[in-house]
Symmetry: C2
Subunit: 233 residues, 2 copies
DNA sequence: GTCGGATCCGTACGATCGTTCGATCGCCAA
DNA sequence: TTGGCGATCGAACGATCGTACGGATCCGAC
């Protein structure tokens, strides 16, 4: 196939820079001229890499989400214990979020602006990702039955166990995703402690004092330095 | 003073309609012409009620936040027990959020677009509100000492107990505020159960089974029907 | 009756936006 | 040398935006 390393590298550089501009000014307030100035590529030259501003946003979100999903599948492979799977999910999500704060802010904050196929393609990935967490939470409470992902986005059952599972799922997502509004890596806790704090709050609550020797550590501490999306400079 | 009931009623109606438009299309994608069409007031006629689009957003956010703060102070008055104060805070926040979803979405989602005095005035209210929750959480963990609000926004201490308190505060806000991205009152849990679920998760965690006879009920169940900001039609 | 302020409107202006178009440059194959 | 294609550019177009301006309408006070 057509693998043009120069083209791909320049496109990824545009995506990264545009994500930074979108994260700072907001998608609709940021202009293509802003991205042109930030990347050094001329205004019309940018349209060689994307067909419209909306497709640019889609490319950013899709590339970010695809990487996040791939990382999750890698880390979750071979792990069966529900609590361990939950810890891996939270760790992967938080580390990736902090390491790619601008892209994840664009993915979270500009979730409603895409339309048509762009929108549905991102929504499919989002449903799969939320379904994965719901499945873990379902196994955590009663280790049996289905994956739980059906009850999150489907309408049945409207009220009952499915609604509580859906609530629990999105409450956990809220605990994690909200960090893009307040987390400052220079003044707040480092990511590892943030991860432990959130995990303790979600699993045991504030009223339960944390374990004296620190929280549970995961066996494989893979990928601590290469969390970022972007391969090279 | 100049109390013009007709003027005030029309202004509040404009604020409510504009909040709905902003919540649906986003602040910067929504045009004054959209608000003109939604309210029935002509394009230039709107500028009799506000000086600029940014001031309109400020008026929406300020009116919404001021009401939220007033309600909180009323409900918290005379209550000393930290856990009870926390339950009141969460209940007030969630009920107000669900009853005024569009305004609260605008307040949460468009938090970074205001500039200058508009921005700092809203930020002051936001700091006071977050400081109130931080104070409650501080008392909850060790019932003594200060209010805890200093450690949330000030830089000292940079790492340690203050950073954990700050983290806990915003994690709880994340659990609650994220609902504007997923909560649908017609398919999800009713507000009372949402409140109980979030409170149980934050206080005791998922691994702790809930109390068999339902969660703790607050004594005074005031203001269940008049949660909305808007007085009349 | 008419004066004046409160209220509301139609219209237009200048700015900025996303996007398009045709031309140009560099580079490799023929 | 020349042809062609990938890559890039300057300039402009049409649309939409926030806002300003001058005039209309209404209504109670004198």
């Amino acid at each position: 196939m057509d693998s043009r390393p120069g083209y791909d590298r320049k496109l990824l550089n545009i995506l990264r820079t545009a994500a930074s501009v979108f994260a700072e000014k907001g998608y609709s307030r940021a202009s293509i001229r802003d991205i042109s100035g930030a990347t050094g590529v001329s205004l019309s030259g940018l349209y060689y890499y994307f067909g419209s501003k909306e497709e640019l946003l889609y490319l950013i979100q899709d590339h970010c989400f695809a990487t996040l999903l791939t990382r999750l599948e890698e880390d979750l492979e071979g792990v069966a214990d529900p609590e361990c799977r939950l810890r891996i999910f939270v760790r992967n999500h938080l580390h990736f979020f902090v390491a790619n704060m601008e892209e994840m802010k664009v993915l979270s904050h500009e979730a409603e602006v895409l339309t048509g196929d762009f929108r549905s393609r991102i929504l499919d990935k989002k449903r799969a990702y939320a379904g994965a967490l719901a499945g873990i939470l379902s196994e955590l409470r009663e280790p049996e039955g289905g994956t739980g992902s059906e009850a999150v986005e489907n309408a049945l059952p409207p009220r009952g166990e499915g609604a509580t599972l859906r609530t629990t799922t999105f409450v956990l997502f809220g605990m994690m995703n909200w960090i893009y509004t307040w987390y400052d890596p220079e003044r707040d806790l480092p990511v590892e402690e943030l991860e432990q704090t959130i995990l303790h709050l979600f699993l045991h609550g504030v009223l339960t004092p944390p374990a004296p020797d620190g929280e549970v550590r995961l066996p494989e501490t893979s990928r601590m330095g290469r969390s970022s999306i972007w391969r090279g400079g």
